[in-house]
């Protein structure tokens, strides 16, 4: 009896025999394969989409953001920045103003936008915003990536290096000669060459991608566009200022595609000082009761630093500055938040969407468990006499149960691995398959404009793969569990009499 609890040969032997000979079991195998592949594809695409969104949101923000939820902003920001930059885990900090305004592009219809005032010379130290600019960065990358222009790999590398260098020094500088601007506005009595530069979200300029991902609307005249911007300054008490400033005219110097819808379709970027002046946030240098204000401070932390710790340190610093100026009691105190907290509404929505879709597909996958249960139950019924024979020649009840559990386990492992293979193949070629589907069936599921990304996410997360394949294996064993228990409990004599 020494070997009876060990790895018994007949179980493996019969599992393999049944797997090969009982083709009905292949239906369960196919069900497990399809369900595994389906859940893997959904999770990979949704997860990839979420990851890309997170990257995009993070790319236009500092790691820690100080804000006070008031359009009037908060004072003493420069002093705060000076102290924050002295914190050991902080790399840089910069003020940013966010406001609302009206834009009028070349005397067309006016449109409401979010206006962001950037210290452009410092923004590259804070986030990846410069890489969203077409003229100053993306154009060079597109050229380097264009496989039809006949460039050598060395030339492409140089273009990429140049783009990277330019991204370190973005600017609002006018791209054309002074004469060109005068030519655009010949009747203007102002010095049009002194109009400041403005970067517009691509959507504001009606630049968009078609369903094939081609850029539409970025014509050669783009940098001859002028934009009149009207902003709405607030007085103390959060009231709209009684004296609205005149519209300020800007030249379009670039367009930005951050891949965040709210920014790309609804935002223009102007020099920090211009917006501060237009919003009457410059303060009065001679009046200590009217300091200059900003609406946000974005902080870049050093690599490896703990985000939460730095956030708390920043909070302490700004509290200290406010306390130094006896500003401890204010209706809208500035607060430090992480970039994830600031964007939690959007990121949370996508995370919930991913969870919901995964849950729905998970429910569909329960069908596979039920299918395995039904098929295994059928097999056990069909094999009742065989179970009697096995017991008659010495198989134990646990041994018989082991055959069916092992059968389920094998189907789970093989189905899970086949599903992984199918899922991997589909996810990694999903853009090619999508392209072919569009070409052959004229079906376009992924609209680059709607989803903000040109391509469907096509990477798999190892952790998610392990979890999903493990669930497939466990589910298959669960599906086989009840039939296995029934098989184990069969009386050998009754089984032998089974017809």
């Amino acid at each position: 009896m020494s070997n009876r609890d060990s790895l018994l040969l007949y179980k493996l032997f019969l599992i393999l025999k049944y797997l090969r000979k009982r083709r009905i079991a292949w239906v369960s195998l196919i069900a497990v394969t399809l369900c595994t592949a389906m859940v893997l594809i959904v999770i990979s695409v949704m997860g990839g989409w979420l990851r890309m969104f997170r990257e995009s949101f993070h790319a236009v923000a500092g790691d820690v953001i100080v804000r006070n939820h008031s359009l009037r902003g908060f004072p003493y920001y420069q002093e705060m920045i000076n102290r924050i930059e002295k914190l050991p885990d902080v790399e840089a900090a910069a003020p940013i103003i966010k406001a609302y305004g009206l834009v009028n592009i070349i005397n067309g219809a006016s449109d409401g936008v979010q206006v962001i005032g950037l210290p452009i010379d410092k923004i590259a130290q804070i986030n990846e915003f410069p890489k969203s600019l077409y003229r100053q960065y993306q154009q060079l990358i597109d050229e380097a990536d264009d496989k039809t222009n006949g460039l050598t790999s060395d030339q492409r590398a140089k273009l990429r290096a140049r783009a990277a260098e330019q991204a370190k020094h973005p600017s609002f500088d006018l791209p054309l000669k002074c004469e060109d601007y005068k030519e655009v506005l010949p009747k203007s009595t102002n010095d049009v060459c002194k109009y400041p530069g403005l970067i517009a979200g691509a959507g504001v300029l009606r630049i968009h991608k078609d369903q094939q991902g081609n850029i539409i609307g970025r014509g050669p005249q783009l940098y001859r566009y002028w934009i009149k911007l009207t902003v709405l300054p607030l007085e103390k008490g959060e009231k709209l200022s009684s004296t609205l400033p005149p519209a300020e005219t800007f030249w379009v110097v670039d367009d930005s595609r951050t891949k965040v819808w709210q920014y790309d379709n609804n935002t223009v970027y102007v020099p920090f000082k211009n917006l501060q002046k237009d919003l009457d946030m410059m303060g009065t240098p001679s009046d200590p009761t009217d300091p200059a204000r900003t609406s946000e401070i974005h902080v870049k932390i050093k690599p490896g630093a703990n985000l939460i710790t730095v956030r708390d340190e920043v909070q302490k610093t700004i509290d200290q500055v406010m306390a130094d100026h006896d500003e401890t009691v204010t209706m809208f105190p500035p607060e430090a938040e992480t970039w994830e907290q600031v964007n939690s509404l959007w990121l949370g929505a996508i995370e919930k969407e991913k969870l919901l879709v995964t849950f729905l597909f998970g429910i569909i996958s329960i069908v596979a468990i039920f299918l395995i249960f039904c098929i295994f139950y059928m097999i056990v019924m069909e094999k009742t006499k065989d179970i009697g024979i096995l017991k008659a020649v010495g198989a134990t009840s646990s041994g018989v149960a082991g055959i069916f559990l092992g059968y389920g386990l094998t189907i789970g492992i093989v189905g899970g691995l086949l599903g992984l293979g199918a899922g991997y193949g589909i996810v990694h070629n999903i853009n090619y398959l999508h392209e072919q589907m569009g070409r052959l069936l004229h079906v376009q599921i992924w609209d680059p404009e709607v989803y903000a990304f040109d391509t469907i996410p096509n990477t798999m997360n190892t952790h998610e793969v392990i979890v999903i394949v493990s669930i497939a294996v466990i589910a298959s064993v669960i599906g086989a569990l009840v039939p296995a228990i029934r098989a184990a409990r069969l009386n050998p004599v009754e089984s032998l009499r089974w017809e």
Binding site: L14, K21, K391, A392, V393, T396, G399, L496
Partner: protein, 249 residues
């Protein structure tokens, strides 16, 4: 087919102590709302090397008795002793082991696994007994023994055939080979010729007689056929739930 099968492992025929015995066995089955007592009080002693036939009409409880004695089922009352030990004291796993290593079964309807070929069916009990590694280590010897048994039974040309490719007589000979593979101390035969024509049945009986005569195999056979029962050393009649000697009332 009538040649000797030398490789079985019976107990010595000289011992007077019964290898298998039953005392006051009772078995009742539920049939709808009523209960039918198939075995009322069965006493039996099977000595090593003995060939005993139990004869009885259809439905008399012959197969039930064989299942009880072969540890496939349990009696409602009474005791069964194997080599002096009450098998009611065995655990379920020990009873399985008993069936695997000490007993061999030949059934009326052969009961071969349809997915397995002749040699695989023959090796089934051995595969249950051994682990993967132990089987691998003895694979050559075990396969040689299976082939030898099948050759003795005239099936050497059918080793790779599946049961559905064999005649009834051939299937029953495969069942005999499977039963003998683990050298059982007791061979149980439940109507071994019941599903065969006369000539094939005669051949199967010749195999059993040869096993008993040449190798001293202990055999307990149940049958409804008196001519078949004559092959045994001793015949008992199962009548009204009791075992009686022929001519006894």
């Amino acid at each position: 087919m009538t040649q000797a099968i030398p490789t079985t492992g019976p107990a010595p025929a000289s011992s007077d102590q019964p290898i298998l015995s039953a005392r006051s066995l009772k078995k009742t089955f539920k049939m709808g709302d009523s209960q039918v007592t198939v075995l009322k009080s069965v006493d039996l002693a099977l000595k090593p090397g003995e060939f005993v036939a139990i004869e009885g009409r259809s439905g008399s409880g012959k197969s039930t008795l064989l299942h009880l004695l072969g540890a496939l089922d349990t009696p409602d009352e009474g005791q069964i002793f194997y080599t002096g030990k009450d098998i009611a004291q065995y655990t379920a796993a020990e009873r399985s082991h008993l069936r695997n290593t000490q007993f061999g079964f030949v059934f009326q309807f052969y009961h071969l696994l349809p997915e397995l070929n002749v040699i695989e069916n023959t090796l089934l009990g051995t595969m249950i007994e051994y682990s993967w590694f132990a089987f691998k280590a003895k694979k050559h010897d075990l396969r040689a023994r299976a082939k030898e048994l099948l050759t003795q039974l005239g099936l050497e040309h059918r080793l790779k055939h599946r049961p559905n490719q064999l005649s009834g007589g051939e299937r029953q000979r495969v069942a005999i080979a499977r039963a003998l593979m683990n050298k059982p101390k007791v061979l149980f035969a439940d109507e071994p010729t019941g599903n065969l024509d006369t000539e094939t049945g005669r051949q199967i009986m010749a195999v059993l007689e040869s096993l008993h005569r040449d190798s001293g195999q202990t055999i307990l056979m149940v049958t409804h056929d008196r001519t078949i029962a004559r092959a045994a050393d001793r015949t008992l009649i199962l009548r009204d739930g009791r075992l009686v000697a022929p001519g006894e009332h």
